[in-house]
Symmetry: C2
Subunit: 212 residues, 2 copies
């Protein structure tokens, strides 16, 4: 069972009951507006109902780092996503609707008697599980000390997903260097070495693993 939305398997009427039970709030934001700056310290879970937003970390030197893209059905919040420090902002990149749930209501044992609630909880369980797997992947890469090893680990993980020698990047090489947490030009240098040594080929945003 692959869950894409926290509301999978719920009828419209169940969804409405759920909203009542959890006393959810729906907030609307305009493009470039910050999403609930005032709720940061609360223990909440947010779900993107519509639109697109980004979680951005602001470093002490003013550098902005993209932590996470939030699309429709993305789940985020203090405990769930990369938002456990104070130096971040969630910015609506389009007009965006956000559903907000009090985390304490979510884990209230009394709610467990409602079928629709339990379905919802199981969906969240699955979504968070997937997130956890993604984080573990990233940690496996970041743990490598050298750029070459980070690249090869990234290729390995992507290769294992599709079993195809061709890996098409879902983003720019700049984004890849952010994901690997290395300097962009140092990464290019290492890619060049891998090309010269005959391990890989690169055409546009597709990397071909010649050693597979």
């Amino acid at each position: 069972m692959i869950v894409n939305s926290p509301f999978d398997e719920l009828t419209k009427s169940q969804k409405n009951k759920l909203y009542d039970l959890l006393e959810v709030h729906i907030y609307k934001y305009n493009k470039n507006q910050e999403i609930f700056p005032t709720l940061k310290d609360e223990n909440i879970i947010g779900i993107i109902i519509d639109g697109f937003a980004q979680i951005i970390n602001i470093e002490y030197n003013g550098n902005e780092i993209l932590l996470e893209d939030l699309v429709k059905d993305s789940v985020f919040g203090t405990s769930i996503s990369a938002t456990d420090n104070e130096n971040y902002q969630i910015i609506a990149k389009q007009n965006t609707e956000v559903l907000v749930i009090d985390y304490n209501k979510l884990i209230n044992p009394k709610n467990l008697k409602h079928a629709y609630f339990n379905i919802f909880l199981a969906n969240l369980f699955n979504i968070i599980n997937t997130k956890l797997r993604e984080k573990n992947e990233r940690i496996r890469i970041l743990e490598k000390k050298q750029i070459r090893d980070k690249l090869l680990e990234y290729f390995e993980i992507e290769y294992n997903k599709t079993r195809l020698r061709n890996i098409h990047l879902p983003f720019t090489f700049k984004d890849l260097s952010d994901y690997l947490a290395v300097n962009r030009s140092a990464m290019f240098r290492e890619l060049k070495h891998l090309k010269e040594e005959g391990f890989i080929e690169i055409k546009d945003r597709t990397v071909t693993l010649l050693y597979k």
Copy 2:
């Protein structure tokens, strides 16, 4: 609500019903034995009932890296812990009992009608949530490019938990260097610099932040 065990809030009889419903298996391992090597590719969740084990990653060069400690009530498995590649082993470090659950049974919507199952699922939800927060913390550290910044980020995170200038390491400095994914002696060198510059003091395994 802080959940420590997946069986919190369950009576003994509910626990037994749960075992029946999920058709759990309990496996016993002796010290230094590998835990279900044959089940690696299955989609399962394991819970440590008794004992102590470690998840260890074996690199291509034979290096062994400790990924995770598994104590009583720890939850692990293909999707949940750092065990999503093939080069790892789970080793019982004492005589250890493991409860194994088929993940597909866990997410079977039919089970959601049983109160005891829902409590169990909510507990797992909480435990995984905590894990996710821990992973996010680690990623925030690993993303930093320099050892000094990784150390300072680690101190920052620990400081925010207790608001105490004294940070007592729950492990050795060697373990800290593994956690930060840097060379041990390079980390010591940087700690020395931080001491010399008056930012920190170190006594045994306690680091005092002089800038707080």
